[in-house]
Amino acid sequence: MIKRVLQLNVILVLAFLYAPVIALVVFSFNAAEHTAVWEGFTFDWYAKLLGNRDLWRACLVSLIVAGFSTFIATVIGTMAALAIERYQFPLRSVFMQVIFLPIIVPDIVMGIALLMFYAQAHIPLGIASIIIAHVAFNISYVTIIVRARLQGFDRSMEEAALDLGANEWRTFRSITLPLIAPGVVGGALLAFTLSIDDFVISFFTAGVGYTTLPVHIYSKLKFGITPEINAISTLLLFNSIALVVLAMRKAVVSGR
């Protein structure tokens, strides 16, 4: 009896989670422009996308922002994680709390804080201003993930390398880094995803002509709902699913 109720709840939750996604995909192939009535199958909306230069430019901006901010945040975050996990230093616990803050502070507050800071510091809004902002929130996530990996770390391997005459840098490169690599890659993947997904912070820190894809889609939404947006959304959905499946395949093959 209880089991039946629980199963029903599972079905309801899954229906709730998938109804919007399915509606989006189905209506991206609908010939009707304004209603939810099915008026025939069409690829028109996808064809229209191909010729949309603003859209491609926004994609490019998003990729550049995500690429740069992921790289910078991964390097900085990994370094910070090593410092926290390996060394004792004054104010260590305070530093650890500061690392958590960007995750707790609401996006919108971080967005407007940076906007006002840029205005005061005379930093022009453009692509660099978005990258700086994304690094600021990504450092926290990378640090937390790499640190988790470092916590289960067997240090005897490093000691062995040092005993065998490797210097510290060499030990780091050939022992430490390969061992924490899954954490670093995981952190980088999360940072990339968060950066690509971010709308609110980009919305406040983007300069004219440097809109990321979500900001571009938002501005289109404001002009009304078109099947073209359904088509972009469907493409993005399948793109992310393909990426995640690829990443998982790779994780399974390399077997950690």
Binding site: A23, A83, Y87, I104, L115, D197, N230, L236, L237
Partner: protein
């Protein structure tokens, strides 16, 4: 000079060179591009809006006095209640889901958890937009309702608080399910069996054993849902159509259209306070409850 010498010595004695090198980039970035901007909110919040949308650097509590206006207190209250309701609904939907996956499912466990996460690989904006496709007057839901019950007058759901709630619950449900699953899955089944062997009815065993042991998951899930929903901006903007005000929208408006940065700063400071206080109080109360329960 002497102070500098002392400072220098303190540094050399307490910080390994390597720690300094490792920490410096993160500290630099977080201080300059996070802590300083957040602190500047506080400074801006005491300034005044200039005549042409600029900022007059005065020191006035005027913006905070304006916050005491029932209008803005009402908006803050609505945001908190909406976030709380969304969190509770996520808990009601998510707990049984996580419980079922952790207790009854072995074969499809990974698949079910993956199914929860898959829709969230797309952009938040798009996930929210998808609800417009369903909820609008000419949308999927109303067409379906009319097809099933021809006599019904289809409800207007889009641009109402109901739509905002649906969007928020949809947007954050996995953040509830995953931590709940993690803590339910760790519970030793032998404890529940022991309770039943000692004569406890199943619901009693649940209330006295399973539920208290899963509290860390409940806390983590609730915080993960409450924090982003209380300051939400996209969902009220798209699904509420800007017709009902929530604190996130009101803040955004001060920066995008009204150009009243000082007042927007005061609102942001208030929001940040609510989120920080909420998080701390929640963690404290849960910790207290757990230790007194044992």
């Amino acid at each position: 000079m002497k102070a500098w010498y002392r400072f220098n010595r303190f540094f050399r004695e307490n910080f390994d060179n390597r720690v300094l090198i490792l920490l410096f980039p993160a500290l630099f970035w977080l201080v300059l591009f996070f802590l300083v901007p957040i602190a500047s909110i506080l400074i801006y919040s005491f300034a005044e809006r200039g005549t042409y949308g600029g900022v007059d650097w005065t020191l006035t509590p005027g913006n905070y006095r304006r916050l005491l206006d029932p209008l803005y207190l009402g908006i803050l209250w609505r945001s908190i209640v909406t976030a709380a309701v969304s969190t509770v609904v996520c808990l009601i939907l998510g707990y049984p889901f996580a419980y079922y996956v952790a207790r009854y499912q072995y074969r499809w466990r990974t698949v079910l958890l993956l199914l929860v996460v898959v829709p969230f690989w797309t952009n938040f904006l798009i996930r929210t937009y998808a609800w417009i496709v369903i909820l609008r007057a000419e949308g999927v839901l109303n067409k379906l309702l009319v097809a099933l019950f021809p006599d019904i007058t289809p409800p207007e759901l889009l641009y109402t608080p109901v739509a905002v709630h649906i969007g928020l619950i949809y947007g954050y449900l996995p953040f509830m399910i995953l931590p709940l699953y993690a803590s339910l899955e760790q519970i030793d089944g032998a404890l529940i069996d022991a309770a039943k062997d000692l004569g406890a009815k199943p619901w009693r065993a649940f209330l006295n054993v399973t539920l208290p042991l899963s509290l860390p998951g409940v806390v983590a899930g609730s915080v993960l849902v409450f924090i982003p929903t209380v300051g939400a901006f996209i969902t009220p903007d798209l699904l509420g159509g800007g017709k009902v005000n929530y604190i996130g929208n009101v803040i955004a408006r001060q920066f995008k259209t009204a150009r009243d940065w000082p007042f927007g700063s005061a609102l942001s400071f208030l929001l940040m306070g609510v989120v920080l206080v909420g998080t701390v109080v929640y963690f404290r109360s849960m910790r207290g409850e757990r230790s007194s329960g044992q």
